[in-house]
């Protein structure tokens, strides 16, 4: 019932711009699981993964090569939102289905599996403001300068805080979504800051931020967490203390690669898919924390593995502009 055309003999390739951090590693793992499953059930015939070393020209070349090799669909986690548009257009012209996800490319012909990062910023800012009672000092830990994800989240945070005159952004550093860099940057600015009541983050930087406060001997503020195992474990540990530890974990899930995989398969199958498929953010609240912690190994990144059926529901919800399905809570991630 999936669609008119059979995709059993098709191949879907993944072009990934960077494999050098835990999130991307988990993303690749989820791709692998989804693709293996897809092959096992006869949904597709083969897959291939090509990584570039965070270099847009190299990734562009590799996409050209995949085009040349005649893959039916190419799924892309892009090194740059703009730099691949030329080759993506080229691939589209060769009647190849192109799906971009996570770090998107803006080429109009590509299907986009998109998080709403502005919304992510808004949600965390709202949470912080509400929790502080519209009064307090907030430090912002940003991602890699010059990326659209960083700008979107930042924009959402600034927009949301505009509604709360009592909240003051007292500092901003770039933690590059990396524990060690976030730790260093926060530690550097911390001595010059007044009391910090909360820290808004972008994920991957919560643990480092906490370490910086701890070594500086400062009271731990409310830190918005990402979805790395160390962040969740930290949350759990802090929550065990007196008075608990209210926060939320907000992130994009590396399992989004499995959504992108199934979206590509659905397009190949001839299903009507909107050009932009919105994906719900992974939001972990206190009552789900234990379930998530159980499912993610040390050093891992929590994520659901999204299945074909779930993706079909997602597409339907996007088409019908209805509420997006909730991310499944994992029952055990390999």
């Amino acid at each position: 019932e999936a669609g008119a055309a059979s995709t059993a003999s098709d191949g879907i390739a993944l072009s990934n711009s960077y494999a050098g951090n835990g999130w991307r590693q988990q993303m690749l793992k989820m791709w692998d699981l989804a693709a293996k499953h897809g092959i096992a059930i006869g949904a597709i015939a083969k897959t291939k993964v090509v990584n570039s070393d965070n270099s847009a020209p190299q990734q562009a070349t590799q996409i050209s090569d995949l085009t040349l090799q005649g893959w039916k669909a190419i799924v892309i986690d892009a090194a740059s939102p703009t730099a691949l548009n030329g080759v993506i257009q080229q691939a589209c012209s060769a009647h190849i289905v192109v799906v971009v996800f996570d770090s998107l490319a803006t080429a109009p012909c590509a299907y986009k599996v998109a998080y709403n990062y502005v919304q992510m910023g808004e949600i965390e800012a709202d949470y912080v403001a509400k929790h502080l009672g519209d009064k307090g000092n907030v430090l912002e830990v940003r991602g890699i300068a010059g990326t659209s994800v960083d700008n979107d989240i930042h924009q959402g945070i600034v927009q949301a805080f505009a509604k709360y005159p009592g909240i003051k952004l007292v500092g901003s550093v770039h933690g590059n979504w990396t524990q060690s860099i976030a730790q260093k940057e926060v530690a550097g600015i911390l001595p010059t800051l007044p009391k910090v009541d909360a820290v808004v983050t972008q994920g991957g930087d919560g643990y480092g931020t906490f370490q910086a406060f701890k070594t500086a001997g400062r009271p731990t503020p409310l830190i918005i967490m990402g979805n790395r195992q160390d962040e969740l474990a930290l949350w759990k540990q802090l929550a065990g203390g007196p008075g608990g530890y209210p926060t939320i974990s907000l992130s994009s899930a590396p399992g989004v690669s499995s959504i992108a995989f199934w979206v590509a398969q659905q397009v190949l199958a001839g299903v009507n898919v909107p050009k932009t498929v919105h994906v719900p953010l992974l939001i972990i609240r206190a009552n789900d924390l234990d379930a998530w912690l159980k499912a993610v190994p040390p050093g891992g990144v929590s994520t659901p593995l999204y299945g074909q059926k779930w993706t079909e529901d997602l597409i339907a919800a996007n088409l019908g502009h209805s509420a997006l399905p909730e991310s499944p809570i994992p029952t055990g991630v390999p």
Binding site: S15, N16, A19, L28, K48, V49, V50, N51, S52, D53, N54, S55, A56, P57, Q58, A60, T61, Q62, S64, D65, L66, T67, L68, Q69, G70, A79, S80, P81, T82, A83, L84, N85, G86, V87, Q89, Q90, T106, A145, G146, T147, S148, N151
Partner: protein
Amino acid sequence: MLAEIRLPSASPRVLLPAAALVAMLVLIFAMEPRAMSYFGLTLLLNFALPAVFAAMAQMAVIAAGDIDLGLGPFISLVNCLAATWLTTRPVAGIVALALLVAAYAAIGALIHLRRLPSIVVTLGASFVWLGLALLVLPTPGGGAPAWLTTLLAVRPPGVPLPVLISILVGLIGWLLLMRTSYGTVLRGIGGNPRAVARAGWSLLGGRVALYTAAGILGVLAGLALTGLNTAGDATVGTEYTLVSIAAVIVGGGEFVGGIVSPAGAVIGAWIMLLTGSLLSFLDISTDWQLSVQGGILILVLGLRALEERPAA
């Protein structure tokens, strides 16, 4: 055609990388016969142009016995300017690009006058370029000027555009640097600056000339990249720093002594490009793809050492 060029002592330096390039092409053609077509080569070598220009720019600096660690971010900056000002305010864009070339010349002059190590000055400059790129274009976007995208989409008869221009660039570089009399003097500066100065030549002028050439070639690399990408991004060129250095060395150049080869640099740029490409043709676990990239570099340069050994 490139191999026929008579370079009395440099030719063995160029022959080996040329052989390596042929081997890589043969491997790719064997795995993907479609690559052998006009269309296939166009796709395969699509991004050769920015790489070739970048390699030539780096070569100009290495010819002076220097090294440029700022080239990649410089290319990004050109990309950002081309995707914004050059499209919306062409005059301002052209002036800005001209100023960038002048800035390169100024860096060359600074390095000479204050006797600074180029490696660190250009490292500092790389931060400046990146910062300026972010100021020009805080988030990726903009659009390439139409003439640029059209230019890069040209399909000349017989020979694919990237191949054609690569050969042309190599040829022009060879003519200017290896055949003209001033090019000879410039290489002499890399070999024995004092001797050249004592013969009455201005070392300042020479270095400025080479850095100006590097600036112009860097701008061309950025423009070519913009034409291919169709938009701007402040971090897009970063890799070109190391890629261009590796291309010059793989192509038979040396870090000291003004020993460079334009033909070799072009071949080196192609090798670096195809090294990344091979990953998409070979079936390698994602964990080890980086290793393979490193391994190919080691192989190409290691062969050169084996070949040179008997003479040493």
